[in-house]
């Protein structure tokens, strides 16, 4: 009896520790490992895509997917890198406007592409972390061909967020940067904004048609 009593504080301590660990949300446990966070997000998106309920509308699925994607992307960083040397010459309001517009461009362009998902396999192969920067290597297998996709991520208080995607060696950010640089040189910032708004409108119209 006495022995058990002696051990009780330790037992309680153990319980406390356990309770503490269990109280931490699962997301935090994965903290520090970009590859796990990314895999988790992709798995959740694939699970949504695989849901086979004919009554469920794409719009609903899309909403859920957009929420996951948004929590994993670093929209500010992305926008800043796309504008590159033109970023500094923009006013604060313009910067905010650009971040919002560019996120919308990406969202309206790419989310609907997921509709054509047909059980392609996504493999996460490795990660490299250096300070607050990380690179996660993945592959998607389509028609028995592997397409390498690399993600560049930035650590945001334990939350790794994507700021560039490199598909078969082609950086998405650089590709937009090159195009925007040209547009900015020829049509100024106002022209770029107009083009982005146009793109978003076009994409939304296409979305409605389908």
């Amino acid at each position: 009896m006495r022995k058990i009593k002696k051990n009780r504080p330790r037992f309680i301590l153990l319980l406390l520790v356990l309770a503490f660990i269990l109280a931490i949300p699962a997301g935090c446990l994965a903290a520090g490992e970009p590859i796990d966070q990314l895999r988790d997000a992709v798995d959740r998106i694939i699970a949504i895509l695989r849901r086979d309920d004919p009554a469920e509308l794409w719009v609903n699925k899309k909403e859920e997917i957009v929420a996951i994607v948004k929590s994993r992307f670093d929209a500010d960083e992305l926008a800043q890198r796309v504008l590159a040397q033109h970023w500094r010459s923009r006013s604060e309001t313009e910067k905010k406007e650009f971040i919002s517009l560019f996120s919308q461009v990406l969202e309206t362009t790419y989310i609907n592409k997921l509709k054509s998902y047909s059980d392609e396999e996504v493999l996460f192969t490795k990660q490299i972390v250096k300070g607050d920067r990380g690179m996660v290597y993945s592959q998607i297998v389509r028609n028995s061909q592997e397409i390498p996709i690399h993600y560049r991520l930035k650590n945001n208080k334990g939350d790794w967020r994507i700021y560039d995607i490199i598909i078969e060696g082609v950086s998405l950010v650089q590709n937009y940067r090159t195009q925007f640089d040209q547009i900015l040189k020829q049509e100024e910032y106002a022209g770029l904004v107009r083009r982005m708004e146009e793109k978003i409108r076009e994409n939304k119209e296409k979305d409605l048609e389908e």
Binding site: Q80, R81, A84, Q85, W87, R88, T109, Y110, K113, S116, I128, K130, R133, G134, M135, N143, S144, Q145, R152, E168, G169, V170, S171, Q174, N175, Y176, R177, T178, Q179, F180, Q182, I183, R195, M196, K199, N203, K206
Partner: protein, 284 residues
Amino acid sequence: MANNRRLARLSAFFVFLAAMLLSAGFTGNALTVGFAVPLLAAEETMVTEETMVADETMDPDTGLDDLDNHEVDLQISDPLEPVNRVFFHFNDRLYFWVLKPVARTYGAVIPQDFRICIRNAFHNLLFPVRFVNNVLQFKFKNAGIELSRFAINTTAGVAGFGDPAKEVFGLDIKDEDLGQTFGYWGVGNGIYFCWPVLGPSSLRDSVGSFGDSYLSPIGWVMQNGTEDGIALHAGQQVNNTSLVIGDYESFLESSFDPYISLRDAYIQYRQSKVKDSKEHNKIY
């Protein structure tokens, strides 16, 4: 007779291209002197070389660049842009009016698995290109892997239709071509071309493709009978396109200026292939 003359003219053109390439690649500033001046006076001349340096400041292991906004992107000078844009538009129409409808019909008739097999077979036929270029880059182990792949896939894979070398033996493709070999040797891209039918390329890669055609069975057929060669090439294009229908459309939707976007994508893609080549070499 007419064919011969055409071939001769074509060869002469490529010799001219080769001369330009060599001067561009090996003598650095040669691009800005001599005959190349009018062609290459674009503002982005020599960017290739600058970016080579910029590239090395990036972390060699991870390719994680630092956060300042002074990154220098790899760019290619494009003095022929007006002409290239015309050909880009031509290729665009060719895709939508010819290639896509044909590939669609073909895809509807031939089952996908079989189309993948045909793609494999064409890939297998191009073994000499990969083998020789691995050797030219002193990657003897990779050349050996390619040789094994060819031996296994041609026999056990039934004339290359299957890919047991990968599925059973885990031997991955070691894709190399002459353009990559030149890049490996340190030759720069030169200027950008958007060829009719053949699509985006650089001066270096165009010369490379021409050289590779001597190692390609399709090229051999082409030399014996132009029509048969073109038919074979078209067949390959239709088959492979049928497996990626929708990709080009997605690409168009995602870009603001498809011409610029494709040019940048091409250059980035080729650069990454050349870089891969160099990194792999460290292992052997």
